[in-house]
Symmetry: C2
Subunit: 770 residues, 2 copies
């Protein structure tokens, strides 16, 4: 379908928030000031595992300027979390601390300096316990037990078997097993978490840099045992989320508690080190993959056997564990699949969701593994992927319904634009090219609470002279551009001008219910609600115009604020004129939209997590250069071809692809959260946690495959996360192509490449001697 | 109808804004700060009437810290005003200035001091013209002409004749003529006007201390030639309006213009003296009344012959002129009425609407006049009022339909509770008792623009777990309590709890259309819209609950958040449970309400202004004491009996009555805006403009007459303005009762009483000599 059928969507219109952000006028939560506002800070545990014997806050309370010092004794002990069966966290630790940085107490004081002073005066008597930092050690008999509710430190255990993998392996021409490792990473949003809470009467208002105001509202109302209506959660601008701002943080709960006790607004914020304690990034993951193929490379069966290091607490970790295995079935079509996963708890900070949620590492593993298999069989890497790529209109072995799917087209286009056939195996020594595939869901079928609720609600209201309209939505702009995209969709559905749209989003009081920004759900799910709301207004406008002009609505069309006779477009009225007439006759001109996904996919446990109305697909190809002296990896050029369905705003779309590749590249080559012997984060700052800069970014082509998913408004699909998933495998494969060395553990690092080359040289030397 | 049939209305529930205001947390527009905000100030004319020959802003522009200096050359010259045919004002004076204080230029600077400095550097070359400060002089031939469009300085001329007054006078037993004068007064709100404007792209946001955001939006959009959708007008808290914040001020336009030019937010505010220039208070009014009565005191005909001093510019002055005469027919039922009015323009600041809008002075005149007639006939003042008081279900001679009307009951109750029969004419020398009647409209039938629009729109949205609901309304809380009252109405209509209501009001972007706070319209008009919106939600809740419980909706009731079987109330669901179910099935739970008054009253010009769905009535009685040495007037005690229909919040209602009496008392005895020989305000500060304090306020009883108006939601009527209208006459009559002196010109003042007593003594002495 051509993009030209539409007036407002399919166009790179300027971001709603662009000018405010570029000129520095945009106010983030941290920029807000309230009268009499206090500053709160958290006291973090200095041990990875210890029993709390006593907490003495008396000295801290005496410090002038300190308005409250609180511990678990002063706040509700109700547990919270995301997955309903794994609520294992309290506002402050009660019996013991479980990681270096765990939340022990909080203070509110007149300024930040005083708050820090007060933290130093809190005396905590700990009985240090043996700690465990490795998931395999944690799973051994006799290991320290971290939670009573997780015997043997097993937080989540998954064993799924579809078809008959053993039989498939027996029938296979070739069966291969490889081991991979994905490291622990951290999102590094520009804006660290900030929360400001203030109570008025029995109601609390919480400004938070969150990805989901409605989840957070629900957590606060649940822990503090209040009706949701007494909790208002809202945000201003959010400086990046990437999955780390889905979980409620200690700031949110502590700020609410401190404000309740002091009767004053309380602002709390994490410094960068605290972000590493609390901002739950990607799990470390050990991945064993066994695959059986025919001689021609057709996959017959796959066994994924994974162990994840959950760190302390669960948060979104159960979902991470399911995602890791569930989505492996989507890209390549095979009939036999076994997935084993243990998510162990350890005495490290908890892990959670990070862009691609559970997926990028298994994709790294599988795309590396598949290249080995291709090499074993003498098949070109792109060919083996084409042989196995899923067709649209199919259902995965684990019951995911995949209606539109452009993976083959993506592979072919990427092959073409990258010049693959002229480069693969033909580049000079030190240069290599690699391919990786990926993709993601466009929203998850089941939210973490009230699974009966619609996923998204939207209301649009046109003002009384028809010259502007407000879209009310609970969806959350976190920098990705959702406010802009939803306003484009609203204008398109209404037949209105984008310039005349305004938005009230992500305020649990003012806007409507929506689960928020996670699982790449908003363009599709909030999009449906917005489309329905816009269409209701369009219908009312056409009906009113028909009465005014003496026609039937079917004879009319409305586009970009103009209602006209299809047969004679010069016979027209402005949308505003018609809206005014509607207003006089009927009062407020509003449209309502609500979206509940159809029952999707399988009923077994785990389908719930992965099931989506639509799936994206992506191929990435990259060319790298390796310095043989140092192992330095330079990414020379990259190509991404994405099937993300119909594109509402191409500029924003390509921005997402570039950002996703950038993030995936950082995780591929440099980024890793490291710990010292006490379990404290060793590189918890942006100097030592090595993220790429703009200078590391290669020239990149972002191209599209044109599909229109029938389950999505205008056929849209996700883009925010899927483009992160092919990168790691793509770069590992390119390094292999360049130097013949396979790095199986992320990050690939210059050192690992240098060591692998050295080992390879020595081995070759050894072999040449024999 | 008993107040007990309702759960939420009829109760003195706490104000929504009470805690914020009492604790000082409430933020008024003047409390707001924006980044890079400039301060703007206006340059006022130092002449009452002068031609502008040249304006030189060059020196002012050079002053460091000055960001813009603007005159009429820099802004649109589109005229604005309220009455469509009388738009006579521009942002800045173009050809000439018309009063001392007229708007000549404005500056924006980094701070207030610099702005004031810059004003001094603007050089204006004036040719001083003869000025006229008296309306009769202005109407004389050869008087200076102030506006080209008002030849002879006649701004508005009204001549209406219903029935045959001359015939009535011929048939009358007694015909009497009296002359009265009402002085110019000023509202003195606690909060002077403030406006903050800031532009973003092609849109401007204007925070203003306004009584009507939608009028102001319309003025700005019209003058700056922009779609209304590009103008957002909103307020925070407003510290009193009393009619003075209906007109757009120079601040509003200048702030918008200065922000457009500087690209920065601009805050502007009036000091108290500037408020006297710009805050259009009550007109000075010369009133000649002639009335013919039967021997028994029945009024046969009335001729009201009035002249008003409009000052410069019209604003709401045409409405003031019509109100002065139109509503004289409502209280007393007579068949012949003639009303002549000339509103002259003079070189004084413009006059406009002040609590009771045009009415209090004519009521002062008529109630004084009626007491003279009663004395002439030997009838008790209350008796003559009872003889003439209108019955409910009648239509006035000028075609106002008066359905509920409790004036007789008010008179009787006031007579009883004040002990009138034991006091009238029987109090010791120096003490006196007087009576006055009054009343007002409950909204005017026709707004100043888009008369085809509904008067009020409301939307109510319940959140997804049913525990709070937001009322969106364009009505304007200015301290009178409308937010509270409308939330009570919403909760009552929905069957919900007041505590769970929240409100988004008076923001042209976020809330719904409503003409705002004037003409005592909101409780009735916004109330209807709110009631309809609430009832739509109630209906949806009952339908959903019926499905859940297995009944039909008619078997169920919903009250205070509980849905129950009428026959067995213990069989119940919570509103929240039902709302959650509705949400799952249908999405957003919202209700819409819209109110357009039925075609009311007559079609002649003037009926438009006065016509209302319902009319209040009030009787006030007061006891005063006069110091014979000094003329000092002490109000000892007061009684008010008000027919304001059904009462939503008694505490707020009685607060309005006390406030209205207080304000009426101030205007009766002390307050008057004075001018020096140049036409400059001579007492433009709160030390010399003598308002009463709490110490001047007598003990006061506020009682009610129980009526239920069929044209109003739950039978409500106005209270905010009506209770101001009887006070002046009541106090004048009490003074007459005390000392036998009639003060015919307001304010009554100690000096006038002293002089009148002296004159009376001398005359009596003279007579006793003869």
């Amino acid at each position: 379908m051509g993009q030209n059928n539409y007036d407002v969507i399919g166009k790179s219109l300027p971001r709603l928030d662009g000018e405010e952000k570029v000129t520095g006028r945009a106010r983030y939560v941290g920029d807000l000031k309230f009268q009499n506002m206090l500053v709160g800070k958290l006291l973090h545990s200095p041990h990875a595992h210890a029993r709390i014997l006593d907490i003495d806050t008396s000295e801290a309370e005496k410090l002038p300027g300190v308005k409250a010092v609180i511990t678990h004794k002063d706040v509700p002990s109700t547990k919270y979390g995301q997955s309903p069966a794994r609520w294992d966290e309290t506002i402050f630790c009660i019996d013991k601390v479980r990681f270096y940085g765990d939340k022990v107490a909080a203070v509110a004081a007149v300024d930040e300096e005083t708050a820090h002073e007060a933290l130093k005066l809190i005396k905590v008597d700990y009985e240090v316990l043996p700690a465990v930092f490795d998931p395999f050690e944690a799973l051994e008999e006799g290991a320290p037990q971290i939670f009573e509710e997780y015997p043997g430190n097993v937080n989540t255990e998954i064993h799924q078997h579809f078809g008959d993998v053993d039989k498939a392996f027996k029938e296979a021409y070739h069966v291969r097993t490889d081991h991979f490792y994905g490291q622990r990473t951290y999102h590094s949003p520009l804006e660290p978490h900030v929360a400001i809470a203030y109570w008025e009467g029995d109601k609390v208002t919480l400004y938070s840099s969150t990805q989901t105001v409605h989840y957070l509202q629900r957590h606060i109302s649940n822990v503090f045992d209040m009706p949701m209506g007494n909790v208002r959660v809202l945000k201003t601008y959010v400086g990046g989320g990437f999955g780390g701002k889905v979980d409620a943080t200690g700031l949110d709960f502590s700020a609410v508690a401190l404000s309740k006790i002091t009767g004053r607004p309380v602002k709390m914020f994490f410094d960068r080190k605290e972000m590493f304690y609390n901002n739950r990034g990607r799990h470390a993951q050990f991945m064993k993959l066994t695959t059986g193929v025919t001689k021609e490379g057709k996959i017959l069966g796959v066994h994924a056997d994974f162990v994840m290091d959950g760190g302390a607490y669960t948060g979104l970790g159960v979902a991470s564990a399911y995602y890791a295995g569930a989505l492996l079935t989507v890209l390549y079509d095979f009939d036999n699949y076994k997935f084993d996963m243990i998510r162990a708890v350890t005495n490290l900070p908890g892990s959670g969701a990070q862009r691609g949620h559970g997926q990028p590492q298994p994709r790294f593993a599988f795309e590396s593994h598949l290249d080995h298999i291709a090499e074993d069989l003498g098949i070109d890497p792109i060919d083996i992927r084409l042989i196995n790529a899923r067709e649209p209109g199919t259902v995965t072995i684990n019951d995911f319904k995949v209606d539109s799917y452009g993976l083959k087209e993506a592979l072919e286009k990427a092959r073409e634009i990258s010049g693959w056939d002229d480069k693969k195996g033909k580049l000079p020594r030190g240069r290599g090219i690699g391919v990786g595939n990926g993709g993601f869901v466009s929203g998850a079928g089941y939210p973490c609470y009230r699974t009966d609720l619609p996923q998204a609600i939207a209301i649009i209201r046109v003002n009384e002279d028809g010259t502007n309209a407000i879209l009310y939505t609970g969806s959350v702009e976190i920098g990705q551009g959702s406010d802009t995209v939803l306003c484009q969709m609203a204008a398109e559905a209404m037949g209105y001008r984008y310039e005349d749209m305004e938005i009230v989003a992500a305020d649990t009081d003012l806007s409507t219910h929506d689960f928020g920004a996670y699982a790449s759900r908003q363009t599709l799910m909030a999009g449906w609600a917005v489309k329905f709301a816009g269409e209701e207004i369009r219908e009312k406008i056409l009906k009113t115009a028909a009465e005014m002009m003496g026609y039937v609505p079917e004879q009319l069309d409305v586009r970009q604020g103009k209602v006209f006779l299809k047969a004679h477009p010069e016979e027209s009225l402005t949308f505003a004129e018609v809206a005014r007439t509607y207003f006089v006759k009927n009062g407020a001109l509003i449209g309502r939209g609500s979206y509940t996904p159809p029952k999707l996919g399988g009923t077994f446990k785990g389908a719930a997590v992965g099931t989506s109305p639509a799936y994206s697909a992506a191929t990435q190809i990259a060319e790298v250069e390796i310095d043989e002296e140092t192992g330095e990896i330079t990414v020379h050029e990259a190509w991404d071809v994405h099937d993300c369905g119909y594109v509402i705003n191409p500029a924003l779309l390509h921005g997402q692809v570039h950002g996703a590749f950038y993030m995936g590249m950082g995780e591929s080559i440099w980024e890793e959260v490291l710990f010292d012997e006490n379990g404290d984060v060793a590189n918890g700052n942006l100097a030592e946690y090595r993220m790429p800069t703009a200078l590391d970014m290669p020239p990149m082509a972002s191209e599209l495959v044109d599909t229109v998913d029938p389950n999505a408004p205008w056929g849209v699909k996700e883009v925010g996360e899927g483009a992160t998933t092919p990168t790691m495998g793509c770069l590992a494969n390119a390094i292999y192509d360049a130097m013949g060395v396979r790095i199986e553990g992320l990050p690939l690092t210059y050192e690992k490449v240098w060591r692998a080359m050295k080992e390879k040289r020595e081995k070759e030397k050894e072999e040449s001697k024999e």
